[in-house]
Symmetry: C2
Subunit: 141 residues, 2 copies
DNA sequence: TTCCTTGCAAAACTTTTGCATTAAA
DNA sequence: TTTAATGCAAAAGTTTTGCAAGGAA
């Protein structure tokens, strides 16, 4: 590689963090790489377990702090689908969700699959910041 | 009142519990009376505080047990609008919600105010058990 | 150096549970 | 009297926080 100057491998995740103004530390890059590798829904505990299983040295506090940081910067989206825990969605484009009550699974529903022909006007002095739609599913029959 | 037989004042809440097959104990009747007096959204902690402020003798465990019991019997509905805690909705008729991000307030949206002209087909082997719609509101301007 | 990040442990919260006591039928 | 519900305290689960140590700029 370049002569003289030390070179640092720069991954996609790393660039993405830098572009958001987030310092790409080792732990942050690992979380970003895991979460942003594909559209998915993970809990903090799942992320911690997954990273540690891969040999990463990372604490629970850092996972939570990092997820909150990412969410503040719009890199991920925090979902409240059931009361039990938060789910972090790596897909930040507008979309909705199926929630399978049997398995607990979350499935993305693209925006074009849902059309509203009527929506209530927001109360005076307010405007719509977002619409969360969760379609609960149960086993048929 | 009636000669000989002891009489018990029977309130609307009491009858409603009995009709559901729930034994109308003093604590349950107080919770039902508070919650079902009007359509509203309350947390377990709010219910506990409110009842105790009114002089009721009731424990936190009983509030949670009772709310879960009511929800199982379809007397109230448990909502997950923010990750922080559960909200209990005394309106069990189908409806949606505004969620004011500034104040945290929840406002009912009647079904006729929302119309879907397009909804995704549920995955094979599943059927729609319910649709939760939360319209998040922020301050305008 | 200086500032930011991490890890650990403890704390903060919400909700559930075990068990002795009390109340309801 | 027999069963079910309550209260209390402790436990459990998730998330946050304080602080010393470590790492980047």
């Amino acid at each position: 590689m370049g002569s003289g100057s030390a070179s640092v491998a720069t991954t996609t995740s790393e660039r993405r963090l830098t572009r958001c103004g987030i310092r790409p530390t080792a732990q942050r890059v690992r979380i970003a790489t895991l979460l942003l590798s594909a559209p998915q829904h993970l809990s903090a505990e799942q992320i911690l377990a997954n990273l540690r299983a891969c040999g990463a040295r990372i604490s629970k506090a850092t996972v939570y702090n990092t997820l909150n940081l990412f969410a503040e910067h719009g890199l991920i989206r925090q979902l409240s689908v059931d009361g039990s825990r938060a789910w972090f969605d790596s897909n930040v484009d507008p979309h909705y969700h199926f929630h399978d009550l049997t398995s607990g699974a979350l499935i993305d529903v693209p925006v074009p699959e849902v059309e509203f022909s009527r929506l209530p006007a927001p109360p005076p002095g307010t405007e719509v910041a977002g619409i969360d739609l969760v379609i609960r599913l149960r086993k048929k029959l």
